[in-house]
């Protein structure tokens, strides 16, 4: 008998079916990857196992965990199971922890509740498990609060909470999506070790084939609430028998067709030994705190029509650099020139002509629009920069043209942003960025919030606009597949400095600096993971 058996699970709200006849099994000590794009029902499946579904949902079928019928179990029995025999790790480490409780309290809480251990015993156990997940008490005392930890460290705390009572089954719902690649690799390693050490079953939910390729023994692919394919991981990934699996695999390694840039193009953006200091935290009232240097003596240039990636781990200063290039922030030292004009020295009022030449695309397709404005107004926003303000009719025409350019219909301008999907919103964001025909678009993680197939389409769009309009890009990303897909050159940033620069292929295939090597080694890569697995088997 399997540890977890899901048979013919169907989930519905009223007449809408969320899940249809889902079958899934997890054995003891086995890692099962559950793959699917957003809206495919993978998180709902996990919540059903925890019986944490919203109330209006009706579940039918059979879910058995360790011989217990989950769907029929009373709430009190579920409370005993949750956090004890079944642990869960959530996607967002920022919100999965209670900000007003120390990490020690949060880990010990479950231990005390389930085992009735005394405070001291529970804290001792909490110390041990935190030590196990890589947060030794000497460096990370139990009295730390979540905000004093980084994202990766917080995710370790969440894992410690989930694993504190040696659960038989661990459910990890996109545990690494919010982290950069290096942290992702570390967290996945930790999960793998814990599974081996404790013979847990692990249900690893992800939208990214490459993430689970390395980890899973078996893979189940879901789409629209149905299981598309299920089987041994190596078999599924090598044969890619199901068309949807193949589509996912292709999308995650998608490289758009691009023309190589002209080598003789004029320089467009020049960054000359730029530094940025932020005031440090006050350690004492009297002493001036040492400033924190976010960007340290960075120099580079981008030619017209060139596409450059700025890669680095989160917190390396790449977004700060981007804000200074966009003149949203002033450098502490150094100069930034766009088309020969030193933007870093101009007052806000004199920046208009420069702003016309550069625009921005942000990461979060949900946060980049004022929810109260219609698309027409949102896309038209940069028109404010034009010398001569267009009439209402001209304005609509320009918005329609920009929407056309990014593959949306002109009638979409009557809608509000919430009426669009994530991928469509990112198209709107790009439309807004190109409406003034800028020469440079700075894109800050433009595709990292998107599903792989949508990501492929957006990358195609970026490549296409680069070819047709000759826009130069500065792509800021921690995802090397993005850099590989649409850029000519890569700059690797580490702790505020640019440590390596070169052709995209050269840097990614043969990294020279330690920082670049770490990034490349940690990046999930489908073909490499497969090669490694096949090697293990053969």
């Amino acid at each position: 008998m399997s540890l977890l058996e899901i048979e013919k699970l169907t989930l519905s709200i009223g007449k809408t079916r969320i899940l249809k006849d889902v079958d899934l099994a997890v054995e003891q000590g086995e890692v099962v990857g559950l793959i699917g794009e957003s809206g495919s029902g993978k998180s709902m499946t996990a919540l059903t196992v925890m019986r944490l579904l919203p109330q209006m949902m009706q579940a039918t079928g059979r879910v058995a965990f360790d011989g217990i019928d989950i769907l029929a179990a009373p709430e009190a029995a579920m409370n005993r199971l949750r956090g004890d025999d079944i642990g869960m790790v959530f996607q967002e480490p920022m919100t999965a922890l209670n900000p007003v409780k120390t990490i020690g309290e949060q880990v010990a809480e479950g231990i005390r509740w389930h085992t009735g251990a005394s405070r001291a015993d529970a804290e001792e156990q909490a110390r041990r498990i935190l030590d196990r997940v890589g947060l030794p008490a000497e460096k990370f005392p139990l009295s730390r609060f979540p905000h004093e930890l980084s994202g990766g460290q917080r995710q370790r705390v969440v894992i410690a909470i989930a694993c504190a009572l040696k659960p038989k089954l661990l459910i990890a719902d996109e545990p690494t999506t919010a982290l950069d690649v290096v942290l992702q690799a570390q967290i996945l390693d930790l999960l793998r070790d814990l599974v081996e050490e404790r013979k847990m079953g692990l249900l690893l939910i992800s939208h990214d084939l490459a993430v689970v390729a390395d980890m899973a023994d078996r893979i189940t692919v879901m789409r629209h609430g149905e299981v598309m394919e299920t089987g041994k991981a190596a078999k599924i990934l090598t044969e890619q028998a199901h068309p949807y699996t193949r589509q996912l695999a292709l999308a995650s390694t998608h490289v758009p067709d691009r023309r190589p840039p002209r080598a003789d193009a004029a320089p467009l953006l020049e960054v000359a030994s730029v530094t940025k200091d932020y005031p440090g935290r006050h350690a004492s009232l009297l002493r001036r705190p040492a400033p924190f240097r976010a960007v340290d003596d960075v120099s580079f240039s981008v030619r017209e029509g060139q596409s450059v990636a700025l890669v680095g781990r989160s917190g390396c200063g790449k977004s700060t650099l981007a804000r200074m290039i966009l003149a949203l922030d002033r450098p502490t030292g150094g100069a930034i020139r766009l088309d020969g004009v030193e933007t870093s020295a101009l007052p806000e009022a004199a920046l208009k002509p420069a702003r016309r030449k550069m625009q921005v695309v942000f990461q979060d397709p949900y946060g980049s629009f004022d929810p109260r404005h219609k698309v027409e107004r949102l896309v038209a926003e940069p028109l404010h920069l034009l010398e001569k303000q267009p009439t209402a009719a001209e304005r609509r025409e320009m918005v329609a043209a920009a929407l056309n350019e990014v593959g949306l219909a002109p009638r979409d301008m009557e809608k509000y942003p919430h009426e669009f999907s994530g991928g469509q919103r990112q198209r709107i964001s790009i439309a807004r960025a190109i409406i003034t025909r800028p020469k440079l678009v700075v894109a800050d993680e433009p595709v990292s919030a998107l599903d792989v197939s949508i990501r492929a389409q957006i990358l195609d769009l970026f490549a296409d606009l680069n070819g047709r309009l000759g826009v130069a890009y500065l792509f800021i990303t921690h995802d090397l597949t993005v850099a590989r897909a649409v850029t000519d050159e890569v700059m690797v940033m580490h702790e505020g400095r640019i440590v390596e620069r070169g052709g995209t292929g050269a840097v990614l295939d043969d990294p020279q600096s330690d920082a670049a090597r770490a990034l490349v080694a940690a990046a999930p890569d489908l073909s490499r993971a497969l090669a490694r697995r096949l090697g293990q088997q053969g």
């Binding site: 920046l351 702003r355 625009q359 946060g367 004022d370």
Partner: protein, 289 residues
Amino acid sequence: MSAETQPLEAPPRGLLRLAFANRSFLTGFVITALIAAMALLSFLWTPYDITHLVVADRMKPISWQHPFGTDHFGRDILSMIMIGARNSIAVAIVAVGIGMGIGVPLGCWAAARGGWIDEALMRFNDVVFAFPALLSAVMITAIFGPGAVNAIIAIGIFNVPVFARVARAGALSLWPREYVLAARASGKGQALITIEHILPNIASMLLVQGTIQFALGILAEAGLSYLGLGAQPPMPSWGRMLFDAQTRMMVAPWQAIFPGLAIVITVLGLNLLGDGLRDVLDPRLRRER
């Protein structure tokens, strides 16, 4: 991302229907509307003329002629409450108006500029907050003389820091949003961004705070006129009616009960309205329902 993806932000349409499906909003709205209607009606018609004293009818208990009884001058209490509502509402509206009109721009300015301007404005706010509002209002009216206008100004001044804080807190959370960054990248200045992006997005917060301050304004006005610092006789006001009634509580309880009830019901209605508005306008709360 499929078509079934839930919209994250609520559509502005259908808001009215949604509002009236909310029980506390509906109750609050009905009560507030009734009080307002009563105040408006008093301009056209009241059961009796309250400037006309009928000594023979003094301190009549509840009856068909005088549903709420009469006071010690023989004036009809229902009529006085109707006219008093006018006074209470006018004072509260203007006081909230002063608070919003000064507080919101101050708060938005502080949030937009940051740095020492923010610091100075907010510390000044703290200083104003440090004065007990009603006591200071007593002080202001004591200096400038009692009367409805001075009461309005006194109450209004103490609404300023409340709105400044709410506006600043809301605006601060919006400034780092990506759509505001995008607007800055489009060359829009702080004033324009505040008008186009910040204000519409904090309007719901301000509206909710407005109804709460409105209720507090009514209470403050009643308090001031109870002390004789608000509207002066013969203009009736609820607080003053309570004061007049207190020595005769045992013989003519209706004289105190009805103005008291009027205050309680109005404040309750406004608070319900505010709670309901908050539930309706905050998409985060609504999604959880």
